[in-house]
Amino acid sequence: MNATATAISQDDFQKFQEYFYRKTGIRFEDSKRYFVDKRLLERIAATASNDFRNYFAMLRFEASGAEMQQLINLMTVNETYFFREEYQFECLVESILPEIVARKQHDGPIRIWTIPSSSGEEAYTIAMCLLERWSGIDRWDVEILSSDIDTNILVQARAGLYSARSVQHVPENYLAKYFRRTAKGFQLDDTLRNAVEFSRVNLQDATEVRPYRNFDVIFCRNLLIYFDDQSRKQAAETFFDALRPGGFMLLGHSESMSRMSALFQVRKFPEAIVYQRPGGGWV
């Protein structure tokens, strides 16, 4: 019987580290050996690859990219909760929205799209931040649209019922103001539930995404990292078309446009690095 690998050599770790960095932009320092080795060994066993070399060859060339997806999933932290990566919401309120209103030339609302919606935490967090932290909310209308491919999760998102874990980073006063504690969990008030429109969309279906246009800000956090090179490029083009000229794109904190597309310009704000579609009369 062939024993499966029980350890990863330093050279194999380096090979893997270089490959993963090239593909995702995420670099695992040597201090992460335990974290990475454990997961690699897990996947080597799960795929019956026997050793790292076979596993790596399979990883690099699997047409479907399914194993790479699995691996990325394992290597990244995926929990969704309110106020996750909070600095991006700060950036929205402190830097992005002020710039948008400064050059706004139309009467319509400011439009924000967040995809994937998952169970709604991101969209509702945006809503809370706009109501509580953005002075401009008294002057400007904002439309928040949130989409996901999974209809079941959309039902959950619309319902607005959350676990204690999910709301652990919600400031106390927001929790008191916008949530009701019930036997089943934390129920979001109708004020916020009615502030967000949820829709079903498959980002990779050109026909389905075509009508999504004229957004000022798009949040697409921790989704594209799971796509292969072609799909990422495609998705970047989709988002480019979905944005108004000068519109902004935010990815997850360990994601970078540098692995996806040259369409966007890098913008540095005090709170975050974001990406901008060129144009819109803003240099």
Binding site: E18, R22, S256, M257, S258, M260, A262, V266, K268, I273
Partner: protein, 124 residues
Amino acid sequence: MSRILIVDDAATVRMYHREILESAGHGVDEAFNGMEALEKAFMIGYDLFLVDVNMPKLDGYAFLRELRSHGELPQAPAIMISTEAEAIDQNKAYEAGANLYLVKPTRPDVLLGYVRLLLGEPLQ
């Protein structure tokens, strides 16, 4: 301690240059292409850039042009490293904003000499 950003899509080349520079006491960061280099340059004020030409998404020339024309990016000298030996390519590099030009494959002593020169350190 000086901080140098190596911009190259080839892992082995980055490793090679890293070893050379670290052995001479320089701090080193890496970027896979011009776009990642911009992102890093926004966060850290580098003392020097080592820039490859052929990279996906944003090549070396485009990176330098963006770096030099960007009001908010801290400026630093740049060595362009290329496979092309023609004079015309050197001019392109200087026009894009490189300070010096090296042809691959590089030699440690030459590279370190150029680095010392651009960092204003005395030549040994």
